[in-house]
């Protein structure tokens, strides 16, 4: 396929990829990095696509996977650098955590979920897609989506609360 098709692809889906990445990572810079990686990888294999790819589905899946991988890496990095940003004061902040901080906590929890559960959770709760649509995107049954979503929510609720209590 020609380069202009690739440019059209970016035009059509840049916002989708950036939004998903931002919602998962809570950081515009990291979201842009994910965007860059996702599209660059596609470009490098451009000659292998034959025009039948379901780009919407493909890009959702790749973005979720990559963003979660980024989240995993930054957890490792943070662990290496030891403590979270607000720990310096020695106390937990009184006011509710800002969304960005919450997001980072949540991203950390997401990164520990089985891949499929994390995908379903992001597409459903962060992207607001319906079960039917998610089933189509992931190539599974709606029942599978429902089961994964339930498990993900149950586990995330527990882990997020533990993580906030740390």
């Amino acid at each position: 396929m020609a380069k202009k098709d690739f440019e059209a692809l970016i035009g059509d889906y840049s916002a989708q990829v950036l939004n998903t990445a931002m919602r998962i990572l809570g950081d515009t810079q990291k979201a842009q990095d994910v965007h860059q990686e996702v599209f660059l990888e596609i470009w490098r294999r451009w000659h292998r696509y034959d025009g039948r790819t379901n780009w919407k589905a493909y890009l959702y899946r790749t973005t979720v996977r990559k963003a979660i991988r980024f989240a995993k890496q930054s957890i490792t990095k943070r662990l290496l650098e030891q403590r979270p940003a607000y720990a310096d004061s020695g106390e937990k902040p009184d006011e509710p955590l800002r969304t960005a901080e919450l997001q980072q906590k949540l991203a950390g929890c997401l990164a520990r979920l089985p891949k499929r559960q994390a995908e379903v959770f992001v597409l459903s709760k962060m992207e607001g897609l319906k079960g039917e649509k998610i089933a189509e995107l992931l190539g599974c049954s709606q029942e599978t989506v429902r089961v994964h979503l339930h498990r993900a929510i149950k586990r995330l609720a527990r882990e997020l609360s533990d993580s906030l209590a740390e």
């Binding site: 939004n19 660059l40 470009w43 490098r44 969304t99 089985p114 190539g139 609720a157």
Partner: protein, 731 residues
């Protein structure tokens, strides 16, 4: 399930607003009185509230523009510099070569040496795209010995492999020699500088990991070029005067123009030669390497035959636990002194159905083993307790198939009778120790299993101390294929009873489950670490009734085997548990029939023998079906295909069934004839590995009642030249 548990299950639906009014009211009442549930509810609400805020976030226009700009600039820069473009695809292999400290060596030499000396740089999975080379690999594995010489940039390396003998030898010329002996479980390393040979013990099977990677090497190269979008040209020509197939490919990798040529023997379909050249950007030949393959009848029997001088000083490193070696001595002695006997062994499930019966004849040297696959009930076992009637019962049982094996202390002879009543005879296999058994059963497996004697350690736990047993722990490392995981780590505990002739009275196995039927798995997709061992066993085998021979030798009379299996029900994993009862009937005072240990008597006289290369009717049907699969103008998608299969089955259209499910012609008539048609509904197709998909389905009535699919069909496209999916398994 009590009320609390039931309501707790509904909490997520409640939080999502998916409950009926009545259920909602019920949950609310419960929340008011249950602290645990109300805490959990609060957490769920927090999470959902958080995601609601997140959902409102979106990238602004400026951010989108700058991101687009950034990617287009990078793409442009890469177009100016085409070399970088393929670089990412091949970073595992070629960057390892080009950036390696050994870069002065020829590329091929580096890779092959890297594999042989154990630096496994080969990454990425190998898919079914290169079917031809999969067959070549299989043929190479069957050779008695494979000998490889690699030369390039003034370096030379030689290697020998024998999959039959579990031996892998590598030799730098001049330089270090390594001799891995899988049967003796030793590694010998000759160091030419110090003139020493170090012998160490290992349980790792070099051939399972490195040896197979080496055989995968040609396939990896093909895949590499294929993935980078490069053409692979196949020609026929002459190599050393013989007709040969030649595969040629070229492409830019790691800043070099690489050209590879592989030559394959047409008759034997094995690799003969690899040539690799690398040119820099000015077109100058920088490195060249040649790999020569031959397949001799014999190879080096020890490190000296591989070239180590007889005067080298030998150092033995036995890092096995001394406590283990001490504990294993009486076990080993007991195992070597098993009584001369005949054993009839039955394996029954919970409903008393016997699927397998083993008959094992043992004297101090020989073993004759027959595994009979059948389907009878426990109450058909003769009750007069005479061993002879039991033997007659086993031999008249009406077997679906029989596996027969003879071991004479040096060679294993095998034969099999298939369901078409044809016998096929396998080549004898060299096995100087008894640790190469392929079937389970008999005393050498049930009471004194071989594996206890491998490297392990003595541990103590509650069970061993309470019951006065010696507990031996054995661990297996995870097994990888490239970067993917084939098996996670495994632990086995063997409990040995010193009071009962050092018999192994209990075995516990621990290992995480991997998705069934899947190809090797990406480690990232797992929710456990590959080297993690779960706390709960997945299988426990225990002797529940003991027997003693007239001479006082203990033996396991009855064993119970409990195991938990994981299977995919189409909507997630389910576990199932099963318990088997294994009963051993043993007789020590029986005259063995004449010629019972004679390899020529392994197959009954007058039996129908399948000639080598002759196809079973399954194989014939299968090939015919695949030809039709590929020749049809249109071919349905997997879900449609499965639906058509069931339509054909309802209509008893055997011809169409045999095409949609290749090979099924050999059984479908018998099984389907009296079947009543069922209306099925089908779920979405999903991937289950590189070339596999699953189509979940259920009877309409089941689906309407449960809302889930309880059955599934497995499809793959391995044999279709057009990549068309067809059914290969189902339930």
């Amino acid at each position: 399930m009590n009320k609390h548990e039931r309501i707790n299950e509904l909490l997520v639906d409640f939080a999502l607003g998916d409950l009926s009014q009545q259920q909602e009211a019920e949950v609310k009442t419960h929340l008011a009185e249950c602290h645990q549930c109300s805490t959990e509810m609060k957490r769920l609400e927090e999470l959902l509230e958080c995601t609601e805020r997140i959902r409102e976030l979106s990238a602004d226009k400026r951010m989108c523009e700058s991101a687009k700009q950034a990617i287009l600039e990078t793409v442009e820069a890469e177009e100016m510099e085409p070399v970088r473009r393929t670089h990412i695809n091949v970073k595992h292999l070629w960057s390892a070569v080009v950036n390696s400290k050994m870069a002065k060596l020829a590329a091929a030499a580096v890779i092959i040496i890297a594999i042989l000396i154990g630096i496994n740089h080969l990454g990425g999975s190998i898919d079914g795209a290169t079917v031809a080379f999969a067959q070549i690999k299989e043929n190479m594995e069957k050779m008695a010995w494979m000998h490889v010489t690699v030369e390039g940039a003034g370096e030379k390396l030689e290697a020998w492999f024998s999959f039959e003998r579990r031996v892998m030898v590598s030799k730098r010329v001049p330089g270090e020699i390594r001799y891995h002996d899988g049967l003796k479980q030793t590694v010998q390393i000759y160091d030419p500088v110090a003139n020493t040979i170090t012998v160490s013990y290992t349980t790792a099977d070099a051939l399972a990991g490195m040896g197979r990677s080496a055989l995968d090497f040609p396939k990896s190269i093909l895949k590499l070029f294929d993935e980078a979008g490069q053409k692979i040209i196949q020609e026929t020509g002459k190599y050393e005067g013989k007709d040969s197939k030649i595969y040629k490919m070229s492409g830019f990798f790691g800043g070099m123009d690489m050209r590879v040529e592989m030559i394959v023997d047409i008759d034997k379909n094995v690799l003969l030669f690899i040539n690799q050249k690398a040119f820099d950007e000015t077109g100058t030949l920088k490195i060249e390497a040649n790999g020569y393959f031959d397949y001799p009848e014999n190879g080096p029997n020890d490190i000296y035959q591989a070239g180590a001088p007889p005067d080298a000083q030998v150092k033995i490193i036995d890092d096995r636990d001394p406590e283990f070696l001490e504990a294993i001595k009486p076990y080993r002695a007991a195992r070597e002194n098993l009584p001369q006997c005949v054993v009839v062994e039955t394996e029954a499930d919970e409903r008393g159905a016997i699927r397998t019966i083993c008959v094992v004849y043992n004297d101090s040297i020989n073993e004759r083993f027959e595994r009979i696959e059948t389907n009878v009930t426990s109450d058909s076992i003769p009750s007069d307790e005479s061993f002879q009637s039991l033997l007659t019962w086993a031999s008249d049982i009406g077997a679906n198939s029989i596996w027969a094996q003879l071991y004479d202390g040096e060679y294993i002879y095998r034969a099999r009778r298939d369901y078409e009543d044809f016998w096929s005879i396998k080549e004898k296999e060299y096995s100087p120790k008894r640790n190469h058994r392929s079937y389970n059963g008999g005393l050498a497996d049930r009471g004194w299993p071989e594996h206890v004697m491998y490297k392990g350690k003595v541990i103590e736990n509650n069970y061993s101390t309470e019951n006065g047993l010696i507990c031996i722990e054995k661990q297996n490392e995870p097994l990888y294929e490239g970067k993917k995981l084939r098996y996670p780590a495994e632990k086995t505990l063997y409990y040995i009873d010193p009071q009962r002739g050092y018999m192994c009275v209990r075995k516990e196995q621990f290992q995480h489950h991997l998705p069934p039927y899947e190809d090797p798995v990406d480690v990232e997709d797992l929710d456990f670490a590959p080297d993690d061992i779960p706390a709960e066993p997945y299988s426990i085998t225990e002797v529940v009734e003991f027997g003693q021979t007239d001479a006082g030798q203990w033996y396991p009379k009855r064993l119970q085997q409990w195991s938990r299996k994981c299977f995919d029900q189409g909507y997630g994993w389910e576990t199932s548990e099963e318990t088997k009862t294994i009963t051993l009937y043993l007789e020590t005072n029986l005259d063995f029939p004449d010629g019972i240990f004679d390899p020529n008597g392994l197959v009954p006289t007058g039996a129908k023998i399948r000639k080598e290369g002759e196809k079973t009717s399954f194989e014939k049907h299968f090939e015919q079906a695949i030809a039709i699969v590929d020749s049809r103008e249109h071919w349905p998608e997997p879900r449609e295909l499965v639906s058509r299969y069931w339509q054909a089955r309802s209509a008893k259209d055997y011809d169409e069934m045999a095409i949609l499910w290749p090979g099924s012609a050999s059984w479908s008539h018998r099984h389907v004839e009296n079947e009543k048609p069922v209306e099925y509904v089908f779920g979405e197709t999903r991937k289950a590995g590189d070339n596999r998909v699953i189509v979940p389905y259920a009877a309409r009535s089941y689906y309407e009642e449960h809302g889930t699919y309880n059955l599934k069909m497995w499809l793959h496209n391995n044999r279709s030249t057009k990549g068309r999916y067809y059914i290969f398994s189902g339930n």
